[in-house]
């Protein structure tokens, strides 16, 4: 029965992997305009698997403590999988002396189990308390399922072992199988010894005599010791066994060990089945992510781009990227989570799978804030090429009609922009009520038209063929009550905020501050004209 379940799970798991890879390919159509995808070089895959999945070098760079936890967890789990779970095909073959109940395997199993357990708890703790500021529940608890599964698996393992330790039936089965002892030949002595040293719980009351104990020890040496190391090395299970030993008789009566065995086995299979569908998959996907390829703006424009969608699923939502994100403060102000890379990547996934459900404007507004500083890409423990993803995403959004404001405004002629002014004037707060510089006459009316600001402006100098209105003329537009027109001028949008104008102004007009303010006002106006959400976004 177990075998059958195993094969079924294996089939499900493998087909799951195939299905996922197919789906990635399909989702990829969203971005990819090229049909001939470049497949990953297997040499690269192995290399990255070793470096990044196994050694987690990128995680090491990102954070030493977390790497420590993660690495031990990973290593321990790997040990458990290979040496313990697959012992039929691995350990038993490789190591002649292998037996789950002998040291060092018994000890190591407990140790690695403990490490995995610690790792899982650390993970849960971190998710719960440590990255609260970065995300809300829906992302915060992503990946928790896999962790809990592992947690349960390890726990069930320990419980299984503990229940086996105290189990009289198991003891009796072993005695029958590996010895010819019976009550006459000292079985009770062995029982006594096991009761004292291996914590087996017997229904009958066995009298403790020093003689019997000594005999039992000899019998143990004779029949058992080759396969059963000191139970103390199973330090977790043993402790657990001692705890439950009071109820040992009842548990033994119901053969609780076999129940745990089933649970443990089934959890294993569940884990196997879930591998391609849960966050566990990242283990296999990280190498895809780490070997970046074909994802450049140029290649995208030339229809040769290929986003390795698999790499997006290598994301573990660890939140490192958002912690180093240059525009994190923008998120604090606007409240738009799509500013943050680790959120954005989830939005991208939603967008690909279910375009109707994505909040396009939020995503666009968030992506707009990106300064292309590459911090996210540099720190990503999974090695995802986030930076290129954002660039391509930007292009993609533009092709879908979600242009950014700079482009929107520079593509709109001032005449059109001014025409729109008439329509939207009513929505802009009136002059005297505003605290904006651009609304306050005294902020710009000192202008004596000397045009020093214009003459020291590097943009006026550099961009003279395109530039429509100089800084001084922007001040004049404000005086003429053409604030909204001013917000659409190229000058305002190409200003470097070098502050030359402001520093040189003989009348101390805050020219650069005003330009900057106008750009923000223009951005809001563009949002409004394009009828997209502006300002604070409700989460």
């Amino acid at each position: 029965m177990f075998k059958g379940a195993l094969y079924i799970s294996l089939i499900i798991s493998v087909s799951g992997v195939i299905f996922q890879l197919y789906r990635f390919r399909k989702d990829g159509q969203f971005f990819n305009r090229s049909k001939n995808e470049n497949h990953i070089n297997s040499f690269f895959y192995i290399q990255e698997f070793l470096l990044n999945t196994f050694l987690q070098t990128k995680l090491f760079k990102a954070g030493k403590i977390r790497w420590g936890f993660h690495f031990l967890l990973f290593l321990s789990f790997l040990y458990l999988v290979i040496v313990h779970a697959l012992h039929d095909v691995t350990s038993s073959v490789l190591f002649k002396s292998y037996d789950p109940t002998v040291d060092p395997y018994q000890f190591l199993r407990n140790l690695t189990g403990l490490l995995v357990l610690t790792g899982c708890i650390a993970f849960l703790f971190r998710r719960r308390f440590n990255i609260r500021s970065l995300q809300d529940k829906s992302i915060k608890y992503k990946g928790v399922f896999s962790i809990i599964l592992i947690l349960l698996l390890v726990c069930s393992g320990f419980l299984l072992e503990a229940s086996k330790i105290i189990s009289e039936p198991v003891f009796m089965e072993m005695v029958e199988e590996y010895s010819d002892l019976d009550e006459e030949t000292g079985l009770s002595d062995l029982k006594l010894f096991w009761k004292d040293n291996y914590n087996v719980v017997f229904t009958e009351n066995i009298k403790t005599t020093p003689n019997g104990l000594e005999k039992g020890r000899l019998l143990n040496e004779e029949y058992c010791l080759s396969c059963h190391s000191n139970i103390k090395s199973a330090f977790i299970s043993n402790t657990l066994a001692k705890t439950i030993s009071n109820a040992g008789n009842i548990l033994n009566q119901y053969r609780i060990d076999t129940k745990f065995y089933v649970i443990h086995y089934m959890l294993c299979l569940l884990l196997l089945i879930c591998l391609p569908f849960s966050r566990l998959f990242h283990v296999l996907l990280i190498p895809f992510a780490s070997s970046r390829q074909n994802l450049t703006l140029d290649s995208f424009l030339e229809n040769k781009a290929f986003i390795n969608i698999a790499s997006l699923y290598a994301c573990t939502n660890c939140g490192y990227c958002s912690r180093v994100c240059s525009v994190y403060p923008n998120f604090q102000i606007t409240g738009n989570p799509d500013v943050l890379p680790h959120w954005k990547i989830e939005s991208v996934k939603t967008m690909m799978q279910n375009p109707g459900a994505a909040n396009w404007w939020n995503l666009h507004a968030g992506n707009d804030e990106c300064t292309m500083c590459r911090h996210c890409t540099d720190i990503c423990p999974s090695g995802i090429d986030l930076q290129s993803l954002w660039s391509v995403l930007d292009k993609k959004l533009v092709t879908m009609g979600y242009t950014d404001n700079t482009r929107f405004i520079l593509d709109t002629s001032l005449k059109e922009w001014a025409k729109k002014e008439e329509i939207y004037t009513g929505l802009i707060p009136g002059d005297a009520l505003s605290s904006n510089l651009a609304d306050r006459t005294e902020a710009f009316e000192n202008c004596i038209q000397c045009s020093i600001c214009t003459n020291v402006c590097p943009i006026v100098d550099y961009d003279s063929n395109q530039n429509d209105i100089t800084p001084q003329q922007v001040m004049n537009l404000l005086r003429l009550g053409k604030k909204h027109l001013a917000t659409g001028t190229r000058m305002v949008w190409t200003c470097l905020t070098c502050y030359s104008c402001q520093e040189h102004c003989p009348k101390e007009i805050r020219v650069a501050d005003i330009l900057l303010e106008l750009r923000n006002a223009g951005s809001n106006r563009a949002d409004m004209i394009q009828q997209r959400p502006t300002g604070l976004i409700n989460r």
Partner: protein, 540 residues
């Protein structure tokens, strides 16, 4: 001399007169003297009725009171106590002008605002009198009023809303003239009436001097209209007819930025500094009433300016601190009836058919106000038509005033977005304050030349916003001068004299309000034009 050909030569060649036979007599049906809103209005009205007209003006359009006023289309509420009849006229005309000359009008709406300490009785009487005169009004809650016009004073006690509007009198005159010209009329600027010949109770011809070339020529018309406003007495005296006029100077201030959306009137008996009118991108505050001996060479004085501001700041406190770019004056032409306060003299107009004075084909129209210019033109035209024996309905009530390209540049800020849209052509901004590009200056130059005028800095400034911004011509004057030389409109040293005249004209409006930013600006102007260019020295 300075100019290659005089205006009249130019005209005569066009009219295929043969110079060697020339007596320099131009014939027409009606000669209108005075290029203010009334004169231009009559020119259009008569042209629409099919008469051939010539309009002469000793300076250029709106040189008198037509250019020296608020640019306010009264709802009439201001006159409900002093002159109920005029109030009703205003109210009616407002609706007609809004309909027929909408492009010259901004329907701002208006407030009548009383502040604490103002005459309670006047405030209490206001609604009743408005009702009597049929002027629509609405009481506004003081708090709401401040929401609607945040610049208003904190101590307002009563606010009424009326349907005042602002009008651009320059655009109005330019468009009226342009329309008259399009129907065969003619306009001669800088042509001054020197005398008339009267034979058989009729003026048979008028002697006219071109003020630029000093050339004398004659215009022979069937009828003559004296629409010279404050100068009406002087013109009438040329025909030997005495009209006793008094001149009341009113001064106004222009702020650098528009302060209110609406016209703000003080709710009290009309006196100094109690109207603030938005004029496109600026606000205009006025006025005063000072008796002067002559309508020539008037300018705002420091005392007037201070008085206007101290009154104005009661309604709108920011008027105390805001930047003013210019002050100007106009003279109200009032036909004397011996009153003491000139504001008590009716603002209604005076239309005199000089038949009673022994001249049968001569009419004088004077007095009145900008708001009723059309009515004045209509009544005058009615008489003229009667003289010509024509029965014709006035059509200015119904036919809309067309908008022309050359008139548009007198309007502030309207073209900004257009001129900057695609920057493919070579079109630098010559006036940065008001963003007037070279192409606009060219348009104006062409229209002046089409009207047989002489494109110089002053006439370009009259027809556009050039020189009207905060720098008051410090920078644009030189740029436009360069442009005029580059386009061969000027030769020799003429431009330097032009520049001097232009700067001095601007200075007339600046000298009374030199403090804060304005004195900084004018010091810079002095640094450039006197310090560097040495224009104050007579050696060039």
């Amino acid at each position: 001399m300075l100019f290659a050909f005089s205006n009249i030569d130019f005209f005569l060649t066009r009219q295929k007169f043969r110079p060697w036979l020339m007596k320099k007599i131009i014939e027409t049906q009606v000669l209108i003297i005075g290029g203010g809103v009334t004169g231009t209005g009559i020119a259009r009205d008569l042209s629409l009725r099919g008469l051939n007209v010539i309009l002469i003006e000793k300076q250029d359009l709106n040189a008198g009171a037509s250019g020296g006023n608020h640019g306010l289309l009264h709802s009439g509420a201001r006159y409900i106590c002093s002159d109920p009849e005029a109030a009703v006229e205003c109210s009616n005309e407002l609706n007609i002008i809004k309909k027929t000359a909408g492009h010259c009008v901004e329907e701002t709406g208006g407030f009548f605002v009383a502040v604490s300490g103002d005459d309670e009785k006047y405030i209490a009487d206001f609604p009743g009198k408005c009702n009597t005169a049929g002027i629509p009004f609405k009481k506004i809650d003081v708090a709401d009023a401040r929401q609607m016009e945040p610049s208003l004073a904190d101590d307002m006690i009563a606010v009424y809303e009326v349907n005042d509007a602002s009008i651009n009198p320059f655009k109005l005159s330019i468009e009226n003239v342009n329309d008259a010209i399009s129907m065969g009329g003619q306009y001669f600027s800088y042509c001054m009436l020197q005398g008339v010949e009267i034979k058989n109770r009729k003026i048979c011809r008028a002697e006219i001097q071109n003020m630029i070339s000093n050339e004398i020529f004659y215009i022979k018309a069937d009828t003559y209209v004296n629409a010279s406003g404050a100068w009406a007495g002087r013109i009438a005296s040329l025909a030997g007819i005495p009209i006793s006029m008094v001149f009341s100077k009113g001064s106004l201030l222009v702020t650098s930025k528009r302060i209110t959306k609406r016209v703000i009137n003080r709710l009290r008996k009309p006196t100094d500094g109690d109207i603030l009118v938005p004029g496109g991108v600026v606000s205009i505050l006025g006025t005063t009433s000072v008796r002067v001996a002559s309508p020539d060479n008037i300018f705002p004085t420091v005392d007037e300016v201070d008085r206007i501001i101290s009154e104005g700041e009661r309604m709108v406190p920011s008027l105390k601190t805001c930047r003013y770019v210019r002050a100007y004056s106009g003279v109200r032409p009032l036909v004397s009836e011996g009153n003491n306060d000139d504001r008590d003299v009716s603002r209604g107009f005076t239309l005199i058919n000089h038949e009673k004075d022994g001249v049968d084909n001569f009419v004088t129209i004077t007095g009145g106000k900008l708001s009723t210019y059309r009515l004045m033109a209509e009544k005058t035209s009615d008489i003229i038509c009667r003289m010509h024996g024509i029965v014709s309905e006035c059509r200015t009530k119904t036919i809309a005033l067309p908008s022309t390209e050359s008139g548009e540049w007198s309007e502030p800020g309207v073209h900004i977005s257009e001129s900057f849209a695609p920057k493919t052509r070579h079109d630098p901004v010559l006036c940065e304050c008001e963003m007037v590009p070279a192409s606009a200056v060219d348009t104006i130059i062409n229209s002046i030349k089409n009207n047989k005028g002489n494109p110089d800095l002053i006439s370009i400034a009259l027809r556009s916003r050039v020189g009207k911004g905060p720098c008051q011509g410090s920078f644009c004057s030189i740029r436009i001068l360069s442009h005029l030389y580059n386009t061969h409109e000027l030769t020799h040293g003429a431009g330097i004299n032009d520049l001097r005249k232009f700067l001095n004209e601007r200075w007339k409006g600046e000298q009374s309000l030199l403090w804060d930013q304005a004195i900084v600006q004018s010091s810079l102007k002095e640094m450039i034009h006197c310090g560097l260019f040495g224009l104050e020295l007579e050696t060039h």
